[in-house]
Each structure stands twice: as structure tokens, then as C-alpha cells.
Symmetry: D2
Subunit: 337 residues, 4 copies
């Protein structure tokens, strides 16, 4: 930690800071500059208590951490790329993966028709929501267990592994029984109890970035999964909240190279939530592929305008099939299979 | 709902929109303007399915809801101010209330000393965290049940009712056993399962605004409490996330008149989280009082620099006492007791 | 400056950093920590070239400035509050000031009626736009020179000094001829050529905060005024852009204590632009007074719904008069006259 | 325009709204819904005065425009893609273009070396700043006219047309004498006087998106160029300001498909400003190409760590050459030359 002192403070005030640094187990190292005195606090920031308490002291101008706060998710801890396998599908390896399916599971017919069609178009994982977090209590909240059973049926039929959202600690076991990957949604990205419950099921966890989450906070939320003895974590960028109103969110594609630099975990892009508009999905998918994403998570529905949630952003089966063809040359140009 | 059609579409495309409007139970009403055709869909938007599905149709330019999506929290539903009583303390009435105490409960000595001091200074409710949501899994997570017991002991000693945070559905009963008001934190503000669990305990619920939450979404999250048969809801503004880095968050004091206009529920301001800096708390409290807040939620610690969480933003006992004196003339000027 | 090196770099890479630090005139000071090596670069950051170039070096993890980048606007440079006098009206002193008038000057009748009414209600400075920056080229752009003449006439009639916006370097002399204070709008807050041109007129400059401007950038923009030999600078908070859509902007009232802490220049609050809604102006004014603002800048129009710009946010003459009465007890409670 | 009335208002209040609608030249059309009365105001919103004045009326809940506010920049006005030619280089056509060069022109040697190298690597336009807008008045402000002359010399030597920034209305003629494209920077994106001055030179104008600019506002700022009889406008996305601090800005690549949909003008991406970090530039360029951008604007410097501005984000000559090779397969995959 680096502690910058205010100019013109007394020797006594300076001594008090130095004593506190020692008290918390760090070794102080004083540098007298032209305009400020700066104290380096030598010690492992990951095992010692933080010195940020000093921010509140009147003689202290600022406190700056030197070490990163995340460990297990970091490239420093694990320099090679991690890969995650579900039923033979490997995410994070040379093959580019596509997760596709409806926003909500609505009926057997709908999920079956979608699963078969997305598989034929080239998707390798089936997505679908059984428990839905909705802004208003008066909106469709998902089919629950019945939805999970339909997803399992579609998996049996098509062989596609299934990703679905976990909303409640109390459902962790139930959802893990049916799903191959547990999704933690943006609104629950710092619901740490849910992250722990998901991690403890042992299933891979896909962690969406929160609407107002800095990259560092996202990595630290991921740390809750890895530190609960579950090594199978995927990060998923799905748009952050900004002042722009043309799109529902602003998809931050720069998260791809950043996560690749800071972490060994795979990075997945969700352009459907990111834009909130089906007409932008094609273009955003192309960008994600070119920038090195490991997988896409795309909402597809046999009849989007009849969908019970997020109708505006779901692709038709035909659009999805066209998209998959358009992505081929880019996947190759990006050096993926 | 208002549906704006794109210019130059075919009669057939227009007819398809009209049919869908009828299909969803609305009565279409066509207006042909100079540059656009607009269709009004007559019907109760709160009971019919949303027409936002039409956003995805190629012939549709935009879909605009006409009604507000929240009901029970709205002033329309309940024109008079609601008040919430806990152990004789009434929030939302003529008397201005102050909730104060440490960020985290750390020890019996700490919580007792604080409770006695804040009561003496004029606080009427004791706050303190037993379960703490922390950005990193390596930070202090709170004393848990032991912390709740210490809060209960402080209540017994001082008579101050207690507000404390609920983090997990599984703790709802436990926390409700000890607490007089359940606090839902910013990171859980759209953890709807937690909101429902909190509501069902029957205890008053203080709902903090999420870091990226629009006012409308906050009101809708509140709707999850009231629609689960708990009428005792308090909104708490604690700062939103913006580009500014001088403060930890940007406290949006305009939320006070807005909540007063849109809702009947009391509004509480948390300047400690809002600024993340103790040196700004005095000024923010004064603004909140002048603008008509019903209560303040302030972090106070006998020794902030030794605090195990949020050291930078906690007031000393002495500072808190000084603040309470400084607020007196403003509380009177604002017409409160 | 503090330079944090990456872990595990070679001696040669470290030496290169040290040499560059020396090359730029700083004295390096090495601290070897547990996980990182940190180098303090001793030297005046305000006179030496910045070391931020090192951010781009592969062996460097981060570069952190220790000194503040602003000088003349800072409290360190000028510990006492600055006051600005225009025609006997002193801003920044014990008396609270109110600047009021129409968004745009539209006609002699309109500006005269408003000037007389706001003076009677207690305003001490007249505001009014002659040159208007409009988002669309098809909107009313102001009366220009004719508008300035009408403001001058209103000043002659009422004795109120005049504040009006400067939009173009080419108009600096012209506007300075008629106005007592030059306003720089939010969209021009980093139009540095305009700031310099305004400063050089010698008239006091009111600098609005840009929509996406950090406090530090605002202070540095103010530095352009003071470093061009004009000591009469006022900062004006008028709302920043956030994700919230209920209000046009989010008025950041915490700017009041922050500017008071960092700078000696007066701080003015513009609640009309801040909210974009007349119905929130009363409450925001009260907050600003209580929090220690030196003045308010309020849009008032004899007939807001007929206004040629910003109709939604202008107060009627009657509303303004009522507001001034409501502010009285708060001005006193805040210790102002 | 659509005007939504509040529930429960009197007949008289409703009649007043209707009269005002007529007064402003629109034809009112009343729709009585279940919960609200809605009035359609029929008339051309681009030629009539806006009805947004009604927002301030107590009986009005909201006012929603139906038409888009931009005309000349819109696809509706000009369905085909516009192309812009400078010295034989066509932007917006089948060939993908790359503009490259130093952030600031610093010396003849620097600009010559860079120009020759970027041309050899495949760049087709030379960029370089002669007038620099700097956050602090104490930072390097550019070489001014001398810088323009060096750019002209580099053009003569290499044949590359030149793009450079215009900062001041007073320099419009001077800069236009030397430059082939005038760049308007993000901080001046709503400096409408500068936009008009740039448009009037007749040179193509590249308009960067402001840090807090919605797409609609950007299009309207572009309207200032086209409505001043200059048809040669390029939009340039360079990152918006968000809460994220890992990158300097958040590059909003979704601006590419949006501008393509809403406007006929070419879209250019500036990844250097967008990320503020050279290490992310490669990845962002790939995304931009894949998503259909017409050109890139990249900062390149022979010795970035010695650069007098923005050192952290400039590529070396070698890195730039490598980037150009890496982009080849993506340019082809995106169907460009």
C-alpha cells in the first residue's frame, strides 16, 4: 500500500500514521518528495488487513493499493487458459462455441423446436430460462421446475448440454440436478450467497457482469466461485448501464481482451441482452468473434413476437441459422474452429 | 400503449400489427399523422400482456407505454403519506428520525458504546451489520448470529429499535427474530427472491436503491414487497454509480422529491455510503433534511480507523453528536420536529 | 509519482524504468515489497513532464500521481474564500445570492416583466440567454446582439447586474460589453479556446460543469481562467449525465462541499438544468442552500409553456416568488443572510 | 407528438391542452383509454414548434415525440451510403481505410518517420495533431501552424491525405488550408459554432462522439454540418464515459451498426482514445473491422514513451505494421478490400 500524506502536517500526525501501519503488520518505508511525503507499507496486501482505514484520517490525502485484490481468477495464479468441459463440449479451447435458445422456456413444443433448430444451425449448448428475474412482479416469472424438465428433455433429444439461470439459493440443488451450467444473472452478480451456493453444487458457473460492475469487482465476484472450490467459472459480458438510450445496455466488448489479460477463465458474450434489439445481434456477434471471445450466448425463439419475455431481442430460427453462416468466415479469420 | 409504425410500410404489414394488438386483448385506435401512422392500443396495461413484443417487428418504429408499471407503491393507489412504526418510533410522520450505528457489529463493547452515544446525541434507531456483503471473499463477512444477538442486547439496554441487513433468503427468519427493520442492500436490490423472503417475515423492509437502478425500477422492486402483503416499505437512497471518482458514489438527493411525488412510502437517505467519505457526511445530511427526507441512516463508530469495514466513511461519536446539533435548525426550518 | 512494476520482471527491464525516471528529471526511490517493487519518483509533478508515459511500458503495472494537477484554483494556493463583486453584489460572502431570469431572452416585454418580478421577489442578479446552444440546428438559437441589448435595458431599469452565456470566441468582446458575468455552458466546459477568450475579457466567468466532467477536470478547466490572469471564477453545478431518465440530468449536490474543500472559488447551483423539471426546483434549491452553496441560478419565465426553449423547467413568476419565501428560513438556518 | 394526460383531471384542464395543441398548429386527436386519456397531435414535428412545452403543465403526464429530429443525416433522407473522397482515397466504399499517425506532431523527423512507416504498412491517410485540447493548461498544447506545415510536408512526401483537429473557429481557415479532413474532437462535439465554422470551409468533417453524447445528439450535431451545405461528414466513435476505470473510456462498438442503420454517413472507429491503452488496440480494431466500420483512426508514434501527449495509447511503428497484417483476414472476412 502507498499512503500519501497531506502537505504541512505535524511530526506527531506523521508518527501516528507510521504507528498504525506497523500496528496492522506492515513495514513502513518513508519517501520525502518535493510536495508530499509518501509512505510505502511493505507487506502482503492479500493477507494483511487493508490500510484503507487510513483514508479517513485527517492527515492522510490518499491510500493506494499496489497489489491486485483477486488471486485465484488471475493469470498470475494460473498463466494458461482454463477450459471447461460439459458433456464433451469444451469452452475456452480452440473450438468456438455457441449457446442458443429461448429467453424463457414456455412450452415443450417451443423448447423442442428451438433446440432441434439451433443444433442443426451449429449451436453446441442449449440455453433457456426456467426461473426468470423480472423487473416487475406482474410479469411472467418462468415455468420453474417444469421448465427444467423440458430443458432436460430437449437435452435428451438433441444431446446439447443445457445452461439455465439460478435465481435462489434454495433452488441450487434442484437446478443443478437438471442443468449442465448454472447461470448467475446480472442482477445477482454480487449476490454472494447465491454465488457460493452455485459454486458448491460443483457445476460450472457462468457469471454475468452486473449492470454497474467494474471489471475488478467482476473478477472478485468470480473469486467467490473459485475460492469455494469450484474451478469451473465462465465470465459473461452482457452490457453495462450507461446514459445511452438507443440500446438497452452498452455491450462492452473491450471486456474480451481485458478478461483474457487478467484471468485464465473463458469469456462469453451475450449480445441479446447487450443490445436489447435483435437487429444489432448479428453485428455484435461478429465483433465478439473477431475480438477473441470463447463463446456466444444468443436468444432464439420460434416466434419472437409471441415470446413471454424479452421479445424485442430474440432471433427467429431462420435469422439464427443465417447468423451462424455469416460467422463462419470470421471464426476462421480469428483462428478458431 | 402507443405503437409508432415506420413510414412507407405496406397495408398488409399494418394489418398484421393491428391484428396482434387485438390478439393481445387491446382495442386498436389508428391515427394517421403527417410523417407516421400511430396506433393507440386501448386496454389496461397492468392486466394485459405487454405490447413491447412489437418492438421486434420490422414495420414498427417504437412502442411506448402510457401507464406506469407500478401500482401498490404509487401515490395514485394511496394518496396519503404512509408511516411506519417500530417500537413507538414513527418514520414518515412529522418527526424526523435518525438511524445510526456502526457499519459492522464487531464486539459487544463497540456496539454498546455506540448505541448509548448515538441515543444520547438524539438518534432514535440503531443500525449495525451482522451479515456483510463484501466485494472480495477475503474481507470480513460479519459476526452473523452473534452480531444479531449483540444488536438485541443493545436494544434492550437503550430501547432503540434495530435495523440490520438481510443477505440471504435462508437467514430471513433468523434476522427477523432479532431485527425491527430488515435492510435490503444495494447489491441485492433486484434479488427478488430475497425481497419476497423479507416481505414475508412481516417486518418493515428498507430497500436501498441499486447502483444502476432507475427510479422506476426501484419502485417496481418495492412493488415486490407490497404485493407480498407487507405494507411497511421504506425507500433508501445511498448513491448511484457514475463516472465521478472523487466520491465512492453520487448521492442522488433528487430522489427525495421524486419518491415523495411518485410514492406514499417514506424516503431515507444514507449519506455514508453515498459519499464514502466521512468529511462529506455533514453537508449531505443537511441537504437531505432540507429537501424533505423522512430519516437518515448514518454510520458511526467509536474508532473509525480501526473499523473492520468502510472505515473511511464512518463518523466518530463526537462528530455524530456535533452533526446532530448542526441539524437542529435545519430540521426546524424544514418544518419537522 | 509512484511507479508499480510488474512481478517477475528482469533486472534490465527495471533498470530501463529507473533510467527513464532520471531522464525526465525525477529522482528514483526504490521500495521492494512482498509482491511488487514500487518506485517513488521524487520531483515536482507540476513542473516536470508527467511520468504517465510509463503506463505503456510492458514492465510497468501502474503509474500513480501523488500531487494534484490544479494549482491556482486550489485551497492550498489560496486558503481563504474568494469573493466576486459585480455592481455591488458580492458572491461568495455572507450574503446568499440568487440569479434568476428566463432561459432565453425572447422580447423586451418578457425580459422586463421578468426582471422586475424577480427583483421584487429578492433576486440580486438577472440571467437570460441571448446566444443559445441548441442540440438541433432547427431550434431557436437566441436573439443575439438584440438580446444583449434587452438585458442591458433591464439592468438599467432594475439595477440588477446581468449574467449571460458566451458561445463563441468571436463574440467575447461583444458579450463582455453588455454582460457583468460571462457564463460558459456545460457543452463548452472543455472548449478551452472559449475559456481563454472569456478570461481575457476581464469579466467574471461562471463555469458550468460538463455533462461527463469529473471534479478534477472541472477544477483544471477553471485553471484555464485563473492562469489567464482573471481571478474571478465561479463554479456552477448543473447536473451530470447518468443512466437515470426520470430527470434530465442528475444534480450532484455533493459538488458543493467538494468545491468548498478543494477550491477557494464560489459555487453556484443551477437546479433548473439539473432536474429539467420545474416541479423539482423548489426542493433542489432548499438542498443547495442547506449544503452551503453561495448562489442559485434559476430559470423563471412569465409564461413557461410559451417559452421558446426549456419550457419544462422554468418557474412562473408566482412560483419563483413563493420559492424565495420558502428559502428564507433555510438561508438563516444555514447561517447566511 | 403524443400527449398523455394525468388521470382524473377536469374537462377544463383537458380543453386547455387541446387549445394549446391547436395554437401551435397541430391537429388534436383524442383517444380515451382505460386508465389515461392520450392526445395525438397531428402535424410535422420538424416544421412546427415542439409540444414539449406541455411537459411543464400540471395536467400533463408526458409528451412523446413520434418523429425523429434529424433529417439530412438520416437514411430516410438519403437511403444509399455516402462516400467521401480525399485525394483519391474513398471512405465509405468497398475499400477499408486506415488513418494513422502520431497523437501530436512534435518534430519534422517524428512526423516524417511515422508517415513513411504507416504508409508502408498500408495506412491510406495520415493523422496528427497540431492544435491539442489538453485537460490542464500546463500540458503541451501542440505546435500550431508549424505542426500543420509539417503535416503538409509529410503529405507531399508520401501522398497521404491529412486529417487534423480544429480547435477554434478562428483557426478554421488556417487549418483548412493545410488539412484534407477537419477533425472535431469529443470535447467540442457540441461546440456548434465550431461545427458551423468547420462546415463552411467545405472540407470533409470528422465528428467525434462526445463523452456523454447519446446517438441521437450525435446525429443532430452532424446535422449542423450538413445543414451548413457541407455534405461530407464522417462520424467517429472514440469511447464514451462510464463508471469503468480499467479503460480510459468505454468504446461503444454498437455505434457501428446503429450509425449504419440511422445514417448514410461513414463511420470511423478510434480505438486509441477508446481504450486509452495500446495493449487493447489490436483487439478493438479487429472488432471494428468485423462489425462493418468504414475506417480506423489509430495513434502511432516512433517512440511512444517519449511522446508529448497520450503516450500510453500510441502504438509503435512495429506494432502498427503487425496490426495491419493481422487485420487482413478480417477485412476479407468482412467483405471489404
Amino acid at each position: 500500500m502507498i499512503i500519501v500524506l497531506k502537505p504541512g502536517i505535524t511530526k506527531k500526525d506523521e508518527a501516528a500514521v507510521i504507528q498504525e501501519i506497523k500496528h496492522l503488520g506492515y513495514k513502513p518505508h518513508i519517501m520525502r518528495g518535493i510536495a508530499r511525503t509518501v509512505i510505502g507499507a511493505i507487506g502482503d496486501e492479500q493477507t494483511h488487513q487493508t490500510l484503507e482505514v487510513l483514508t479517513g484520517w485527517p492527515q492522510v490525502e490518499s491510500v493506494m493499493p499496489v497489489q491486485k485484490r483477486y488471486k485465484l481468477v488471475s493469470r498470475e495464479a494460473h498463466p494458461a487458459d482454463s477450459t471447461i468441459e460439459v458433456n464433451g463440449v469444451i469452452i475456452g479451447g480452440p473450438k468456438f462455441q455457441v449457446m442458443a435458445g429461448p429467453c424463457s422456456v414456455e412450452s415443450e413444443e417451443q423448447v423442442m423446436e428451438t433446440a432441434i433448430a439451433v443444433k442443426e444451425a451449429g449451436a453446441t449448448i442449449l440455453r433457456g430460462g426456467a426461473f426468470k428475474p423480472r423487473t416487475s412482479p406482474y410479469e411472467f416469472q418462468g415455468l420453474g421446475k417444469k421448465g427444467l424438465q423440458l430443458l432436460a428433455k430437449a437435452r435428451k433429444e438433441t444431446g446439447l448440454p443445457v445452461i439455465t439461470e439460478l435465481l435462489s439459493e434454495d433452488h441450487a440443488e434442484l437446478v443443478a440436478e437438471y442443468a449442465d451450467i448454472l447461470q448467475i444473472g446480472a442482477r445477482n452478480s454480487q449476490n454472494f450467497q447465491l454465488l457460493i451456493a452455485a459454486a458448491k453444487t460443483g457445476k460450472p458457473v457462468l457469471l454475468k457482469r452486473g449492470l454497474a460492475m467494474r471489471i475488478e469487482e467482476w473478477l472478485l465476484a468470480g473469486e467467490y466461485v473459485l475460492s469455494n472450490e469450484n474451478p469451473n467459472l465462465l465470465f459473461c459480458e452482457r452490457g453495462i448501464r450507461t446514459f445511452e438510450t438507443y440500446t438497452r445496455n452498452t455491450l462492452d466488448l473491450s471486456a474480451i481482451p481485458i478478461i483474457k489479460r487478467e484471468s485464465h477463465c473463458p469469456i462469453v458474450i451475450d449480445p441479446s441482452q447487450g443490445a436489447g434489439r435483435a437487429d444489432l445481434v448479428h453485428s455484435l456477434c461478429k465483433g465478439a468473434v473477431a475480438m477473441g471471445a470463447d463463446a456466444l450466448l444468443i436468444e432464439v425463439h420460434p416466434n419472437p413476437s409471441g415470446a413471454r419475455s424479452d421479445a424485442a431481442q430474440q432471433l427467429t430460427l431462420h435469422d439464427f441459422s443465417r447468423l451462424m453462416k455469416e460467422l463462419q468466415p470470421l471464426i476462421q479469420a480469428a483462428g478458431r474452429e
